[in-house]
Symmetry: C2
Subunit: 266 residues, 2 copies
């Protein structure tokens, strides 16, 4: 029976992970190895300077491994120690509470980082995230309702992924669900938006009249065809095919740079 490794960055007890677990058990043996608590925005960090602990735990009667490290650590520990002689067919990360659209997510999100780590270790992977409604406090009852639907739609995607190979040059998929995801929400193949937000810096004064700054973002006008537009503006499911290698190997660019920087050596 094939094995699916499941992780996340919100923590091993979160509903998004277990909604996905329920659906994925129909497709294979699901092994859960996830951070013991929230590790959002830890990116690709690996814990090298302190030892890691792994605990076997039960979450509502279901077995899981809880790890003191980051999502990236979880993938390494799972592939090298827990699964040892079993190569998983797929590494699945999510479902994240909140969207992971745009390149900001690709470089910053722990959910996506787990997929990148798996891809670097040669295993196909998919990251799943559920967008919240913009400018609305998160409503736990909405989360309980939306996560199982997002999980069903995730499992449909995973089922097809298990039947095929990713296209040449694609290492992992970054999947985002709109807040109102339903059984019939269309799926779009997208590209990553460069940014979702224009960075804004707000200057304030503390009670002692010293300056401090808050960073936040002002939503850009979103471009059709990008993950940000399809999920946040059009309300579709976005699948963005991703590769891990962002170096430019175009020979024209390389030769131009070689010509320019050859001069550095004179």
């Amino acid at each position: 029976m094939r094995t699916i490794l499941l992780t996340n960055d919100d923590g091993v007890t979160r509903p998004g992970l277990w909604a996905l677990y329920e659906e994925l058990t129909r497709l294979g043996e699901v092994v859960v190895v996830a951070p013991e608590s929230a590790r959002s925005a830890t990116g690709m960090s690996i814990t090298l300077h302190k030892p890691l602990r792994v605990k076997k735990i039960l979450v509502k009667g279901r077995r899981a491994y809880s790890c003191s490290g980051t999502p990236s650590d979880c993938v390494i520990i799972a592939l090298r120690t827990i699964l040892k002689n079993t190569r998983p067919a797929l590494v699945v990360s999510g479902i994240n509470e909140g969207n992971n659209v745009s390149l900001q997510a690709v470089y910053g999100s722990g959910t996506v980082a787990a997929a990148v780590r798996a891809a670097l270790m040669g295993i196909p992977a998919a990251a799943f995230s559920l967008a919240f409604r913009e400018n609305t406090p998160v409503n736990p009852s909405w989360l309980r309702r939306a996560m199982p639907i997002a999980a069903k739609r995730s499992a449909e995607i995973v089922e097809r992924l298990l039947e095929m190979n990713l296209p040449r040059g694609v290492d992992y998929l970054n999947v985002n669900f709109p807040p109102d995801v339903g059984p019939d929400t269309p799926v779009k193949i997208t590209r990553a938006a460069r940014t979702r937000y224009e960075e804004v810096v707000e200057e304030r004064r503390d009670p002692r009249f010293k300056k401090y700054y808050w960073l936040h973002g002002r939503l850009h006008e979103l471009e059709p065809g990008t993950d940000a537009y399809e999920v946040l503006a059009a309300g579709n499911i976005s699948i963005t095919p991703m590769k891990v290698d962002a170096s430019v190997t175009d020979p024209v660019a390389s030769e131009m740079l070689a010509r320019v920087f050859a001069a550095v050596q004179e």
Copy 2:
């Protein structure tokens, strides 16, 4: 006079930043905005949940802005607040103490993250890192000797960058110096190695006989043409042209995925 924004992830007082500063002042007005202390492996994190402080400080008589956030925060604060109406010609990050070769660095390094952030905000950028000797404790006197040489070679590269536009499709450069960098060390245009290390998990027992794990890495055999090989094995200077967009826009891949996942909607 053109402006160069200089930042790093080791902290505003580190010798790598100031060695670079000394060389870059000959090429333009250098504005230093850097983290108040080491922010290694913070990747692309942005500080949204707490306010940021920025201090004007003097480091050996030279003016700098010290920021309580990450390298990515520093770039945002600099471009939006400190430089306000001045668009820098280039954002320079470094010189990092330790190499930033391979895709692991691209996703995890704070030094590279500053360049990615600048590129996302539309400013060309370059990240500079000096590799340490493998398996040797860092020797401060070596650092004091090697940094000024790496800084001279960095300035030669920056000088050419200021005279040209980056080739189409290239957003920033990731530059690494070998530990023995000298005035005549050759420059190679490379691609990023996928990984430098094979991830190793070592299992140990604590004094109470409970298991714990250390993560470390075993050096791969390095592939010629990659940044890791050129810097660590061949002893050359590596310049890797990078783009920020890692989504796959190849129409063949997109159409294949659209065909497969269209079925999800039935």
